[in-house]
Amino acid sequence: MCDILIETRDLKKYFNTSRGLLHAVDGVNLTINKGNTLGVVGESGCGKSTLGRLVLRLLEPTEGKIYYDGQCISNYSRSKMDKMRTKMQIIFQDPNASLNPRMTISEIIAEPIKVCKTIRDSRERDKKVSELMDTVGLAKRFINSYPHEMDGGRRQRIGVARALALDPEFIVCDEPVSALDVSIQAQILNLLMDLQDERRLSYMFVTHDLSVVKHISDEIMVMYLGQCVERTSSDELFLNPIHPYTQALLAAIPVPDLITARNSKRINIRGEVTSPIDPKPGCRFSARCPYATEECTGEDIMLKEVSPGHWVACTRCK
């Protein structure tokens, strides 16, 4: 009985720009098991948001295959894909832009149900909306409010409620807490984790914040310029980061602990992210890597399993 819900093989997305071919996502292989969370971490321009949308086919892949519960969905027609959408949903980053300012809360949450016709009776639908608001902790009195009347934390809860409306099995969370205050972040993260336990949901949790992803993920994938540079279980990544970029990323996080802050070895990587347009072969991090050698700029580096379940793409790992 296969436990894998989502799988991608050599997934690529290239954009044609006036300056050349932009390699947004460049050959990503990943698997997400049922009931698990894959954290996708990286900084701006690494392709993590694009990856999230590719898996849902909100963007069409340039190359590569996507499998949902064993079936290849990358060549499904539009109507077949629309039927799949009840199972795969997305929560967006910006609580302001992700809600239609002209619709009330109940209309926003009911919209997916209306579109997919999962519940046809309007009273049943209202009941479902009410239940969903309850699940995410929104008081009933907001049912006819508009998004602009509410604060960021509540708006994000509406986004969660909308994602749950079709009872999906898989949700892509695209930086769902980045725009929120710290105490509200904690509330939303707890909500997402509770929902996962109750409903056996699978998540792809995309974020740039490593401290957030540690709590919610079972496995973490670190991305840099469209490629996966390291992938392993959540605990292992923090205990034993191997790729120089992962190490630098972890070292760069300001820790709210005075002793660590004063004594930690700061690995400041130099320079800026290189361009994702027509990248040269070899490791894309080599321009900024403190350990770069000639070998790094020769051929593309493949992911190697350096210990069970721990994959790294680095010439230092033999």
């Binding site: 629309d82 949903q89 992700s98 902790g137």
Partner: protein, 297 residues
Amino acid sequence: MAMTNDRNSTSSDIKRRGQLGIIWRQYRKNTLAMVGLIVFLLLVCVAVFSPVFLDYQNDIILMNNKIRLQAPSAEHILGTDQYGRDILFRIIWGSRVSLVVGLFTVGVALLVGGIIGAISGYYGSVIDNFLMRIMDVFLAMPATIMAVAIVGALGPGLINLLIAMSIARIPQFARVVRSSVISICGQEFVEAARACGTKDFRIIMRHILPNCVGPIVVQCTLHMATTILGVAGLSFIGLGIQAPVPEWGSMLSEARDFMQTNFNMMLYPGIAIVIAVLSLNLIGDGLRDALDPRLKK
């Protein structure tokens, strides 16, 4: 399983004010815009209720040579024209004509232009290019000359006038709707709608267009203004509304011959045009300012 936050919240009644309320309050602060609105509403009232007080046959088109070319008096407040018709009554009736033509023209242009703009903005690439290039062809022609050409070809008359005026405005509405649609399309809530498998038609009608209302309404008011001016212009050269139906432009035209002796014949229709156009412009500007979130202070 529920978070307890809202239950414990002690904040008082949420102020239920929809977006329209906010826009109205912003608009109200602009004195000029309010003046424009009040004047225009008065104009509309006058136009709508004039048949109650005026009879078309007797008051508007009945000619009476005995009282021709009179100066303003108690009986004929703005005087009479060269056929003895009361100028004030004709101006009032003329407002009906202008408003009806304005409304229909803008309505048709909005409908056709809106559809073209929405399709163009939503689908982009080849369709967008194709449609916009057609619009460019129409935009390249001066509106008045095009209207003259169309009316000249089809012959004068109300329907042909409406066609001519609408065609000139369709490309401009198409452009405004297109740019609104493009900017809304990039927002995440449209992506969210796609993520549930919403069909394109529903996305455009339910999600995108309701959020484009602002700029479109501004365009409507401004185009009403230019239409009224345009109709007056065409009527002035004899291609618009035909006699004896009163229309401000044709009244101006007729007054040319009597400019030196009875200046009132030219002055008052002119003032009517200015009032109508100016009030619409003030409304349009006021709306544009009220809708701009950055100007809110």
